[in-house]
Point group: D2
Chain length 384, copies 4
């Protein structure tokens, strides 16, 4: 059995299915999709890719299945799903997800069509694995689907540890060895065995701390908002979305520089807009927190007009309210399966903490920062 060296899990042995899937163009493309897109503008060491992350998820899935006592054909399908769970990502991963959803109505974890459009379905079938079953597992269906996508999935376990390793930020260092060992299946649900409330809390806390310091760092958010805007313009300019969603990072960087040169060049050389507005939830009207992406673009145009600056030079960024998916984790407490949010006081507090960290952002070039700030307060109805 072949093995690949990984900087997080050391040697990762590959089963024959994985070895064949690895060789496909669709999977090799993940070498060119960075795991943390614009985060690396803040943490320069964080240029790791979805290729290595996918291998890590495959590796942890294997350990989880062993711990759950699942073997044979069922296990092989889950491991394949773990390996493929990210092949549906567009360029720059999560950062283009919303754009693609608006233009196609589908999410990156709906990989059924993709499997058949590429050689992936063929490879799976050659190994007697049903591609539709794999696609269902990636969507998180069934108890084993939760291993791949759910509150306790190995995706999360890998990315927290990997992102910590590559950024250098220590907060994501969870005990994935323990998490994987303590997984159980109860009535078709994936749960953590008795005595693991704190294990579940630690996962939630790691995620919350990484959110604040890494995933939602303001520099990454500004670059991400600029990138999303640039992608919209790229699509408006005629690039078909079917082509767009299959680009790799380097294709997108070059396409943006050519088709949307102002934003493209700025992103490439990290010459970012500044924060004209950066305001917490307590000072933002509810109507604003509920803006759709279309509304955001409209608001940006209105602000630009009022500030008398070019419409392309204002970006409005209204992040979603934090969801804390990990709080839905199931843990056995005194023999009874409970959701973590019912078993831990921390969940409520973290929710409050993360609401307190929420910020509305309006970004513009440094020269226009003041004018845009002024106009934005008017247009969005913010207090002064």
């Amino acid at each position: 059995m072949n093995a690949i060296k990984d900087s997080v899990h050391d040697w990762i042995p590959l089963d024959p299915v994985a070895a064949d899937l690895l060789d496909t163009e669709a999977f090799q493309r993940l070498r060119h999709i960075k795991q943390l897109s614009t985060v690396r503008l803040v943490y320069p060491s964080a240029s790791h890719t979805r290729f290595e992350h996918s291998l890590g998820v495959y590796h942890l899935a294997g350990q989880a299945l062993e711990s759950l006592g699942v073997e044979g054909a069922r296990a092989r399908a889950v491991r394949a799903a773990a390996l493929l769970h990210d092949v549906g990502h567009g360029p720059y991963g999560h950062q283009t997800e919303e754009v693609i959803r608006r233009h196609t109505g589908t999410d990156h974890d709906e990989i059924g069509d993709l499997l058949y459009e590429t050689e992936l379905a063929g490879v799976l079938e050659r190994h007697d694995i049903d591609p539709d079953r794999v696609a269902a597992l990636v969507r998180g269906e069934g108890d084993l689907g939760q291993v791949v996508s759910g509150e306790l999935d190995v995706d999360r376990m890998d990315y927290l540890v990997r992102d910590a390793h590559h950024t250098g930020v220590p907060y994501g260092t969870i005990d994935h060895g323990r998490l994987v060992r303590e997984l159980r299946s109860r009535d078709g649900r994936l749960v953590l065995a008795e005595g693991n409330v704190q294990t579940a809390e630690s996962l939630l806390l790691a995620r919350a701390l990484m959110d604040g310091v890494v995933y939602r760092h303001h520099v990454s958010r500004i670059a991400g908002a600029m990138l999303e805007r640039a992608c919209e313009r790229l699509l408006d300019a005629g690039t078909p979305v079917a082509e767009f969603r299959r680009m790799a990072d380097h294709d997108l960087l070059v396409a943006l520089r050519e088709e949307v040169p102002d934003l493209g060049a700025r992103i490439e050389r990290r010459d970012l807009y500044k924060r004209a507005v950066w305001t917490g939830l307590d000072r933002v009207p509810d109507a604003v927190t509920e803006l759709s992406r279309e509304d955001e673009r409209r608001a940006a145009r209105d602000i630009a007009d009022e500030a008398d600056v070019d419409r392309e030079r204002v970006v409005v960024d209204v992040p979603s309210l934090p969801k804390l998916k990990e709080s839905r984790t199931r843990v056995v407490v005194n023999g009874v399966v409970r959701r973590l949010e019912g078993a831990s006081e921390l969940v409520g507090a973290l929710r409050a903490t993360r609401r307190a960290q929420w910020r509305l952002g309006v970004y513009a070039p440094a020269a226009e920062q003041d004018a845009v700030a002024e106009a934005a307060r008017d247009v969005l109805g913010l207090p002064r």
Copy 2:
């Protein structure tokens, strides 16, 4: 300048004062005091000592002083205090602290007398450092004393990272580089600069997670309670407390095996008592949570009598309620210095979480476990 290799901070350069202090018998003794005493019965890799921890605290103190812009004689005194902050510990560190306090009325951080009884005061004076000043700093006096002992002290930063490194438990991995860089002095108080609420929270969370999984692990608590009881008996048997408190770990292990052979041998070979009672706060009368150590011993005797077992074979262990000292950390928020507990929702939740983790323990040999459990419920008034 000489340097010592450390597995946590790599090379630690020593100033001339530190080099001379290191060579004293009082400091070399710390090589023989384990940092985590009975914790290593759970985590076998955790046999690190207060010697290496003291070097680490000295190292971080130097970085903190640099960050605060403190130099010269003041800095030298603080660095010396950081290095010496643990020389007052008895054998097995915190585990004998309570015994020593009861018999002498003093704590391990009152090192004034010790400095003069040993060659330490002489070394300090030779370098123009006032031993009384060092003792005051170790007690946490003054703004610079808070660097050595306070909510934001470098002691805490070193032990969290070091204990994580040596146990293998990832939860203590704080970003001490950032903590040290963000220290400021405001009106004679040590605070964290603007934008560091989450930095402060991360310290608190690391401590809380390490408490649950490491510092208060039940195996370590059982061994610790047995050790404390054995030490009481050693003192009862005639060992002078002045001699006892200056023992190293190996002296104590041998003395216990000779003078208190039943408990001594059990501790040495990890043949521990079992939990006859292990009960949360909601099922324990307030009167029990407030028991003094003397009361505990009396209760243990009563339980033993009622269960008709040897009085030495029952140990009652009522831990103090968690204090969360880190919640008093001061952080600048919008230009104003605030306590973390006022600035973060997490503090209250962590307090609740840790109350939920609190357990009353009554321990006895496996053979007597049931009888003792029965008797303990009567004597302590616990529900059935």
Copy 3:
């Protein structure tokens, strides 16, 4: 002072010069040049960039200068040179170096012109640093230039540790803390202080082990040879070399796919040629080991013709003989400065070892492997 988080050296504080240099387009470009180019086709975690490496070199240079007692204007120039030492690299770093040298006659460490063509010279002058002095330091001139480029340079110290961290291969883990502390200047030469023969050996060994397992891994070599060939064809097809050498990795990937589609697509999706010939030094005529790149191309054409395959489908790869630059390191031994190769038996043996690892490669698509192997033996005069 600003600081950047690095996954190898933790926080790296930036002086004002570095902060300004960082913001230039020429330096930001290094975010898009991978440190190990085709190595990441073998070690998927190794997607780190010359941007983070340059920061690491800057950081170690600062420590080396401190250890050497160099301060003020001289130190500032050296730190700037350390930061900028790689700005002259073409896309894919060392992999295009030879192509660029052939077409321009200059190496990546000749950055004088580049400084003046970009905003870098202006930034340096604004901080009273002479750009020509920086360029000279990058070329390794003077005793301080050796800190930046020489047998004991901090470039080497950073990349060994960093490449080990990112590949997961443990062999590069040198003790850079010790190396930097033991640097001395003797008669205008950078040397290691007395007692460091083994320290010097460890650097040499780390390099030799990493060479075998990482830098000269056959998969990376195949991809690298294909890339170099593709770049030659790109230039032949009309891309000006001045434009080529300033490309970033993503520009090159896209350009190759468009202009040299067969090789471009293969490199992008790791669909590599196979080894038709892979032969050690003892079976290769001297004339072959001395082939120039032009000769290689001619031989490849001849082989293709004889095998009757498309000329573009044969690549001949004759690596240079290992030079072991580290063996020239100077160490003080019994008070006398000596070259490591005179002070250590290991140098000769390593030279032999690396000669034994040398391999001539001829690569072709799997379908043509046998025919090409046959023809190559004829054309190159290899024994059967």
Copy 4:
């Protein structure tokens, strides 16, 4: 299945045999035997024990057996042998080995008698494992015995990595994952599979570098020689060797302080003798390099008499010449099994390097250093 957290290998699952063996007094004693004895006087973080090392060896043995395809009863015996391979060590491990050998004629790896004298044999038999088979495996007998004790044993793989982790010295960081995966059995011999000459070299190099910087550091050697002398005096003073060899480190420290107070106290507080003589192989007569321990003591007495100092205050330390056991490693090269020393130029060079590092030591208190140096040259016939 139970698992123990280890700072090197993370979670180590225990099979039922291991779990029962762990609970014995003979195995728990290893908690009190430090892995590196006097090395921790140089590297303060290196206070790890043979308990955690034994767990690590057990863990790697399991992986090696999996890689070799060995299962069932044979595998269980090897894993048990791996776990128990160090139970025969006296206090301070290798440092008292020579003393015990002289007084009993047996080595630490002859554990047959010990198994039957303790409860270990009983535990093994309860699990249908023959204690004599385990003892034979610990002696390295048979092809599987080589997994436990041989040139490629997992003992070596664990201690190199573990000692690196705990000292902080990076040189021991071998790729044990690869070593274990590449093990093969050929004609009853343990070998490394084709393509692993460098893998074998890396093990040898790691050992050689660790020897120079860690295992043979002069401070550790001085303390070790003082300790050995003190132990001889302890036995001379009447402590039975049967009791001595079963002591733990703390027993020995206390016994020495009481029975051999001068040396005992010096070792405890690191108040070590100085090097009166420290001379390389080229300046030492062959007769001296061949001195037995008895001869060493006689020479020490003669030197003391000539220098007119107390006989107990001179220690002569003639280390054995380096053996480089790892050079006997078998590797498959072009299909043929070869010894590494025949396949690698490095072996001869390392032998030369280590001969160059060899030093004769004569140690004495600082006050007597000069007189002893003078006398030692006469007595040992050293050039001036």
